[in-house]
């Protein structure tokens, strides 16, 4: 077994995901199977291989940068239009500091 229910709960905490007990138990089994398959990669000798950090990259490192000119932003109203709870030009959220 590569992963325990305790591990699943810890990862869910990191990912900010609330999971039911049933989800934890199912995810443990599923992730266990997937991680077992992924272990295949250990068969490959990568000691002299660089990680692929870019898919394609033009030779000039600045080639993909746009001209440094200001463009107008969305604006406050448009940015807030999809907020579940906007207020006074801000995103409102529940209490941040717990006491």
């Amino acid at each position: 077994m590569k992963i325990s229910e305790q591990d699943v709960r810890q990862v869910a905490e990191l990912a900010d995901l609330k999971l039911s007990d049933a989800e934890v138990s199912r995810l443990r089994a599923e992730l266990d199977g997937i991680l077992a398959h992924v272990d295949k990669l250990n068969e490959v000798d990568t000691s002299t291989v660089a990680p692929m950090a870019q898919v394609l990259f033009d030779t000039n490192p600045a080639a993909t940068l746009r001209d440094d000119v200001p463009i107008s932003p969305l604006g406050n109203q448009a940015a807030l239009a999809n907020a579940p709870q906007p207020g006074a030009g801000y995103f409102k959220v529940p209490k941040v500091i717990e006491r």
């Binding site: 990912a15 398959h37 990669l41 990680p51 692929m52 898919v55 394609l56 995103f91 529940p94």
Partner: protein, 480 residues
């Protein structure tokens, strides 16, 4: 052509252009008929999630105005288009197939949308897909699955299943999809239409909801290679708003479709063929024979790291997804859980309720492989193997002008058949994922059908930015 509403399911871009030029129909009349037809037919497949009649009619009237003024109405003038609901459209709901974004109205248009509308396209509506493009069957949509127009008890493939189904059903002439590990090619194969994943960076992703940024592409679906090439030509090219979009010049693809493919060297990877059994294999090998008859020279080329592609992909794609989906936190994007007393509980509750099972699975896997102590063993290792997979392709393209391969180990499967076994579903992406990891252009072109009448596609892959050779082969194959 004499335009009649009954033509709609088989229309091509060229036919529409001629009908508009000869005034056989106006763009507004065509848009009205196309909308009526699509809305009437949609209950059979659930391909569209919602329609955009006002936007479509406004676009059609702009085309008619341009024609009336004697101006060129653009290469997609009056063409009814369906758009996968992961590509944002200003003022038009964009759900990503998720409860999380069920009411999301984007404040801007994706660059691909701007470009096709500027070229005269008429967007009829937004199409169903797996939630946040995660899946291979479109069964992971929060808004119900899509039925394959060729076999209603079967899936259309995924994740762009709605776009493939709309084109196959004839409720759109062309459609836009997105492909991260096969999400355009596999549904194109399952539905019997053309589906194109261009070179990584060929089409701007500005406005494509991010799933895995080093793998995401926008590409077209069409009923012919020519129509797909036309749409790609309109969308392709540098966009200052996407720093990963490439400055490489965009050729006029259709001008080079001369049917002459004699002497082109095609590589056949034996690593793919060992897993190809049954009727899909028979149809594929029959397709290879047709390519030989056209004068192509077919030889074996090796892609030795193919066996490691699925593992590599499901580490890199989920790692990137876990990061990209962090933004859905109940603050900015419409959905928020009710009654959470603190910010932390609001985050967790919103994400726990808003995401479906497949999204949660991938966020969990991605978070795990990036977490302290596992990063080197999983994520870094996968990035190194990805280098080897990309090198496989570079070596193969020293020996061949293109690679031909199957798209899927099997034709469209039954609704519900694979949904309970996520690993089996992931493994079915084997033939499409390697090309995605290398960032090379690849497409599915209809190859034939099984004895049950299920479509099977043939995949063509070429060098970075050489979509031209890919289209030339596909076009000659389509006409053979």
């Amino acid at each position: 052509m004499d335009f009649a509403p009954s033509n709609i399911p088989s229309l091509t871009i060229g036919e529409i252009r001629r009908a508009l030029q000869t005034r056989a129909v106006s763009a507004a009349e065509l848009a009205g008929e196309a909308l009526r037809f699509a809305q009437a037919e949609n209950p059979k497949t659930n391909a569209y999630l919602h329609f955009s009649p006002e936007r479509a009619m406004a676009a059609a009237r702009r085309v008619d105005d341009r024609i009336a003024r004697g101006e060129d109405p653009g290469p997609l003038a009056g063409v009814p288009v369906a758009v996968k609901d992961v590509i944002v459209t200003k003022g038009l709901r964009t759900t990503c197939g998720s409860k999380m974004l069920a009411d999301y109205i984007p404040p801007y248009d994706a660059t691909a949308i701007e470009r096709i509308e500027q070229a005269g396209a008429v967007i009829l509506g937004k199409t169903n897909c797996d939630e946040f493009a995660m899946g291979s069957s479109t069964e992971n949509s929060a808004f119900g699955p899509v039925r394959n127009p060729r076999a209603p008890d079967r899936v259309p493939g995924g994740s762009s299943g709605g776009s493939a189904a709309a084109v196959a059903q004839g409720t759109a002439v062309v459609a836009l999809g997105s492909d991260t590990g096969g999400s355009i090619r596999q549904p194109a194969s399952f539905c019997g239409v053309v589906g194109v994943t261009p070179t990584y960076g060929r089409v701007s992703r500005y406005g494509l909801t991010a799933f895995a940024s080093s793998l995401d592409h926008i590409g077209p679906f069409a009923r012919s290679v020519r129509d797909a090439a036309t749409v790609l030509g309109v969308m392709a090219g540098r966009d200052p708003r996407d720093a990963t979009s490439a400055a490489a010049p965009v050729p006029d693809y259709n001008a080079q479709l001369d049917g002459k493919v004699e002497g082109l060297k095609l590589g056949l990877p034996p690593e793919y063929l060992k897993d190809l059994k049954g009727e899909s294999g028979e149809v594929f090998f029959h397709g290879v024979e047709r390519l030989k008859k056209l004068g192509c020279v077919v030889r074996d080329i090796s892609l030795p790291h193919t066996d490691y592609a699925i593992a590599t992909y499901y580490i890199i794609a989920t790692a990137e997804a876990s990061s990209n989906l962090a933004r859905y936190d109940g603050v900015r994007y419409t959905f928020r859980t009710g009654g959470a007393p603190t910010l932390a509980e609001m985050y967790r509750g919103t994400r726990g309720e808003g995401f479906g099972a497949e999204c949660k699975r991938r966020i969990m896997l991605g978070t795990y492989v990036l977490s302290a102590g596992y990063y080197d063993a999983y994520y870094l290792k996968a990035q190194k193997v990805r280098s080897l997979i990309a090198r496989d392709f570079a070596t193969a393209f020293d020996q061949a002008d293109a690679i031909v391969a199957p798209v899927s180990p099997f034709p469209a499967f039954r609704l519900g058949e694979k949904i309970d076994d996520p690993l089996a579903m992931y493994l079915s992406d084997i033939f499409t994922i390697t090309g995605s990891l290398a960032g090379v252009p690849c497409m599915s072109v209809p190859c034939g059908t099984t004895s049950e009448g299920l479509p099977v596609g043939l995949q063509i892959l070429t060098r970075h930015f050489d979509e031209t050779t890919m289209f030339r082969i596909a076009d000659a194959f389509e006409n053979s």
